[in-house]
Symmetry: C2
Subunit: 153 residues, 2 copies
DNA sequence: GTGGCTGCAAAGCTTTTGCATGTTC
DNA sequence: GAACATGCAAAAGCTTTGCAGCCAC
């Protein structure tokens, strides 16, 4: 669960992490990271952009793209694997899985110890050196379930 | 492993599957399915297009997109979840996982019984009705490993 | 002060759409 | 022959790029 304390913790570490990586701490970067650190909805670049624009009206979408890409490269963010939808980012880089709604695209974090242990173990894959693993469950979220029930009934 | 017998089997079932689904059996559809059924490389739409164009020079890329989307909807094909690269398709819809090379994008099928059993089981996810699950391993393929070793050494 | 970062505008790719024409059943 | 599929061209995303000016350090 995402608590206020956890958000504060992530955000407070951000400047140091940037410095350690040799990255400058700009308003735009702080805003992007802060927005994602406080979010559980796995926002798209467009969503990050329109959110941070409220406090930083001159920011550009291209910059948001550049920042997201950079943070992903440096491991500050995780990119959720989807079947071809727009990019979605997650500031929670601790091992966990995702459930994606086939209908509305909602992404929910899944923390399941039994699954995690196996899926995050590095399997014996011939000819491949595994660095990390994504587990993505596809299905219908509660909202879309009740919506489709209404249509039928 | 993809044997000639398995390819023949898939291709021979194709017309019946179309009819059962109420889909017309056209040259374009047969070519797209045949190409994917005989492939282990998880081709992109563009790759399917340029391949089948050799025997069907008038086919259009838009048609390939429409066919791939249709086949995916009807469950003839699986779409591989990627972190935002181009779409990749797989005619093997039996349960299995994928390993994707971070550097060159090569996708390899993974058949691991212990993993499969767990990842394909439907977990207890509150507020979600799970229909299927993707497990994607990320890492370096053999080729890219030796290439990066050469650079260093 | 300098190197790195941002904003802008433009381009690049992938994918989708609308419609007239052609094909399957 | 009717319904459905295709091909074309155009548009619609999403994402990247190049470069002049700006800002963090």
């Amino acid at each position: 669960m995402l608590t206020q304390a956890l958000i504060r913790d992530r955000v407070s570490r951000f400047p140091t992490r940037c410095k350690n990586a040799g990255l400058k701490v700009t308003h735009q970067r702080t805003a992007v990271y802060g927005m994602l650190a406080a979010s559980e909805s796995h926002p798209s670049p467009e969503e990050v952009y329109s959110q941070i624009r409220q406090n930083l009206p001159t920011v550009s979408l291209a910059t948001v793209y550049k920042i997201l890409d950079l943070f992903h490269k440096y491991g500050f963010l995780r990119k959720v694997s989807t079947e071809g939808q727009v990019a979605r980012y997650d500031a929670n880089v601790d091992p966990h899985h995702h459930a994606i709604c086939t209908q509305c695209g909602t992404i929910k974090d899944i923390f399941q110890e039994s699954d995690a242990r196996i899926a995050l173990a590095q399997p014996e894959v011939s000819d491949f050196t595994i660095t990390h693993c994504d587990v993505i469950y596809h299905g219908l979220c509660k909202g879309c379930q009740s919506r489709s029930r209404q249509k039928k009934g």
